[in-house]
């Protein structure tokens, strides 16, 4: 008899992903869906999709979802969670959304320790709008709006969101993961599940930053993108758990 050993998570719909080849959004969607499945919470979960490449996340996750205004997902999630405290609420945000236009919202949602889970996708660039400089763009990195490389003298240094939020004196679970190796993916899955469990247990705010690739806007192949992420991003954005306070 045939035994099924691998299948699509139940928390994903049948709609094919629209993401570019080599982009990590697909893996991240899958890991989030697996976490919802494993924890048995999909039917009680409300997602908040961002503005950016993942604006279409509402097509892919098989749970209630609202699309928020650019950067405001943590505020929208706050409203949802306060009205429906027994539901699980998560936001899915990119780096421009969370670390630039939505900086105030993420800092204050974390500081109030809103009982929400944030999946933060950091690919060091604005993807949807065609590859402009993000707050997380690395020093010297060339983008449409840093055509001569990001110059810290006038453009600032890349923002480390996990480190920044970990300074807040409030309960929270904060971790940074990557997906370039199977071992990393296992750790990423564990961190995402832990973040949702943190919310289920009513402990407070949780955030997992996932270092991700953008082959299209980086101008690299998927393989080269993974190498670039490991060689350039991980040294500046170290992986690990930054905070677990409740």
């Amino acid at each position: 008899m045939m035994k099924k050993v691998f299948e699509k998570p139940k928390s994903l719909t049948d709609v094919p992903f629209t993401y570019c080849p080599g982009c990590h959004h697909g893996i991240i969607h899958r890991l989030v869906a697996e976490a919802l499945d494993d924890l048995g919470i999909a039917k009680d979960t409300i997602g908040v999709a961002p503005v950016g490449c993942a604006v279409l996340a509402y097509l892919f996750f098989d749970c209630d979802i609202i699309v928020a205004a650019h950067g405001r997902a943590p505020a929208t999630a706050t409203g949802l969670k306060r009205v429906k405290p027994d539901n699980i609420v998560f936001t899915y945000q990119g780096d421009g959304d969370l670390a630039s236009i939505g900086t105030a919202e993420i800092v204050h949602a974390a500081n109030r320790s809103e009982k929400i889970t944030v999946i933060f996708v950091n690919n060091a660039v604005y993807g949807m709008t065609g590859g402009q400089m993000a707050p997380t763009t690395l020093e010297g990195q060339i983008t449409q709006t840093s055509p001569y490389g990001r110059d810290p003298k006038t453009m600032g240094m890349p923002i480390r969101v996990c480190e920044l939020l970990s300074t807040l004196n409030s309960p929270g679970y904060i971790a940074r993961v990557a997906l370039t190796k199977p071992a990393y993916i296992v750790k990423a899955k564990k961190a995402i599940k832990k973040a949702f469990q943190f919310q289920i247990d009513g402990k407070g705010f949780s955030l997992v930053e996932v270092l991700s690739t953008c082959p299209t806007n980086w101008g690299l192949s998927p393989k080269e993108s993974n190498e670039w992420l490991e060689q350039k991003m991980i040294p500046y954005y170290p992986l690990g758990e930054f905070k677990e306070v409740f």
Partner: protein, 351 residues
Amino acid sequence: MVDRLLMRGNEAIGEAAIHAGCRYYFGYPITPQSELIAYMAKRLLKIEGATFVQSESELAAINMVYGAAAAGGRVMTSSSSPGISLKQEGISYITCAELPCVIVNIMRGGPGLGSIQPAQGDYFQATKGGGHGDYHLIVLAPSTVQELADLTIKAFDLSDKYRNPAMILGDGLLGQMMEPVEFKEYDINSIPSKESWALGSSHGREARTIVPFNLDAGEMEKINNRLKQKYIDMQKEAECEVVNMDNPDIIVVAYGIVARIVKTAIQKAKKDGINIGLLRPITLYPFPSAVIRENVHKAKKILVTEMSMGQMVEDVELAACGKAEISFYGRTGGVVISPVEILEEVKKLLK
């Protein structure tokens, strides 16, 4: 039981909201509406299951309202002019998503940081949309503390009925003044159920989405058409108070606190043998054009008076269809019009 209390306007709005079953409030302090946020904090933090959040910004507040409304909560936010400008993107989203909520604007002098004194300079912003895209808010304009309370309750009901944000458009004077106010019985069980569309647990049903956009232009146009139909349906809610319209020498059109000042001017004018009629739009959107049109022919002169440079005057002109000679008198920047000024203006026009 009907309680009669002496309350400040801003606090009456808060109590009326709670009376109407509002249990979720998100706001940011700004003069001259800060008594309202303070009142909501004092009351809601003591109610089991209720939520009060002093948000990090007006942007955050309106987006918290967006989330709370999507979850089916009866929700309110409040601010004053500059803060309302900051909320506009969120209001546009909420309108596109067809979610109910109440937004209170206790107007102050503008533009810019303006002043902190009463004004009516946000009429265009409130009634013509305010943010990006084709949409309208339901806009109610109280002129007494009692009406602040009554119209706040009505705003929640209309907002639920049309699944469209409703705005209370008051001003700093109305918000700060104290008057007796009664809270009539309100049946919280009459609030329409939101179970058929609100987000939450999806056991036994398909997952739902609330999506304020569509990448397909034709589909996005359908959303616009649906909203347009809603605004057509809404026209029947238009309300206007008609005062002293028995053979007037002149008709004054005014709303909110200015209409109240006109009422004093009417009394003063009587001593001088002048009969002033008053048309007071209670709903600014939908605008009571029919009532205006039916009445403008009753006097040769029409005076629109506002604490702005003349924003409602355009709607009055449209309603009058050229059937009356319309003049305007206004004060701005936070300067409150006096009954004497109005009377002088009336006399000038009647010369």
